[in-house]
Amino acid sequence: MTEMTKSTIGRRQVLKGAGVVAAGTAALATPVKQAEAAKKVPRWAMVMDLRRCIGCSACTVACKAENNVSLGRFRTVIQHKMIGTFPNVTKVNLPLMCNHCTSNKEDASAKVPPCVKICPEYPGERQTYVTPEGKKIRYRGGATYRRPDGLILVDVEKCIGCGKCIDGCPYGVRSFDPFTKAGKKPEKQAVDKCDFCKHRIDNGVEPACVNTCQGRARIFGDLNDPESEVAKLVKEHNLEKSVLLPEEKTNPHVFYIDPDNLLKTAYRQREKGKLDHYVDTLDG
């Protein structure tokens, strides 16, 4: 067994503008300061290119492996849907996960998504976020809260297991983790969902689902950096409105490149608290 040294692995710059250069793999990541990096706070976002998603489920399994997710739960899935009548039929593979939204229907200026707004533990005590350049930003914590870089996160220590955020999420991506106790009410289960692989991106490495995507259908980066691929794609394909359930006014930060306008037809709103998966793979 030989350990691979950092220098032996080629680097692919993935997370531009955040002041970090990403290696292809988690362990090898060494955040490197870029002198000319933008001073802005990053706004992490993902673009799902439906032209490129081939429904292979590598992302789903990579997420399980990376985050040690037990059987019975998924943080990201591919929804398969046949559209049309033989022989004029096609199929959409739709990657789904937490949209890391910014706002909500009732109060567009709130700058928090419905799951955060509804959290009884939000707003909690002040926290500090340090940008990759070392700039400190104060924000309000909570059991479910929004970090200044746009990540919607769960703090299991503060969670009371009430499940209101599960009901609040219009996308059904949140679920109780039967194996994590809610910190403030240990007799209840804490809530769990995709966290954009926070532990990786904080070290300058792209999320596990992005890393393994053979079609490069998942593109991750900083929307606040006009040079980033996600920013360019959002601009080029006019993706501001190309999100799931725009009528919910949640301002999601997972965008879909959907030139054939299939998103609306293909998306089946999920049952609360469950990213069920198997029912779709019959058509896989």
């Binding site: 040690n68 997710v69 037990s70 194996f179 994590t180 106790k181």
Partner: protein, 227 residues
């Protein structure tokens, strides 16, 4: 004090013996020589006094025959195919998150580090996982032997230290899963030999837990162990 120390040394050596025997039972299929000793009157009497039987025909069956039958049973129980009771801490301990409880899982690492921190290494030819029941029992055997030596050498501080470590290993590891494991063996074994030794193991570890706790907390009789 001298008597108490002698008692402590004797107790530790005695505990080491039982751990050693139980480690041997779960390490591998029994040999004919081993079975001959288990058949000895001394051991038989002990079993009888504990109200335990290794099978009605255990004493009368020739060792060679027992060896074959027990080897098949050992395979069925612990190697598979068969009920295949995983004899490992990581797969038997109850976790809040079952993802911790995988074969060669994080718990296995904890056991390995605990044992290695005591200056021991796993034998190169040992082919089990680091948290195999026999490795854990053997570890306790080694600790108790060392403890006995310390008492003999009048190194009370060291001896007491080892006792604390023994208790800690029981608390953090062995006691957390051994009875669950033994219950599975008792339920699934088709041979009274393994059912019997599972009973002994379970009973002994319960006794151990109580004894060590009593000693380390200073309760019990003057010798630190309950009668």
């Amino acid at each position: 004090m001298a008597t108490a120390r002698k008692d402590m040394a004797e107790t530790a050596a005695s505990r080491s013996n039982v751990y050693g025997l139980l480690a041997a039972v779960f390490r591998a299929e029994p040999s004919a020589a081993f079975l001959a000793q288990v058949k000895s009157s001394e051991f038989a009497n002990v079993l009888e006094s504990l109200d335990l039987s290794l099978g009605d025909d255990f004493q009368d069956t020739p060792c060679d025959q027992l060896v074959e039958g027990l080897a098949v049973e050992y395979t069925r129980l612990f190697i598979g195919p068969g009920p295949r009771i995983s004899p490992h801490e990581s797969t038997n301990i109850e976790f809040e998150n079952p993802m911790e409880g995988t074969l060669w899982g994080p718990q296995t690492v904890k056991v390995k580090k605990f044992i290695e921190a005591a200056g021991l290494a796993y034998d190169e030819l040992f082919d089990g996982m680091p948290d195999h029941v026999s490795a854990e029992l053997e570890f306790m055997q080694r600790l108790a032997t060392k403890e006995a030596e310390a008492w003999e050498e009048r190194n009370e501080e060291f001896a007491t230290n080892i006792l604390k470590i023994e208790e800690r290993f029981l608390d953090e590891h062995l006691s957390l899963w051994i009875s669950r494991f033994c219950d599975k063996v008792i339920e699934h074994s088709e041979h009274p030999f393994y059912q019997g030794f599972a009973e002994v193991t379970k009973g002994f570890l319960e006794y151990e837990g109580k004894s060590l706790q009593a000693f380390n907390s200073g309760t019990g009789n003057g010798r630190g162990f309950p009668d």
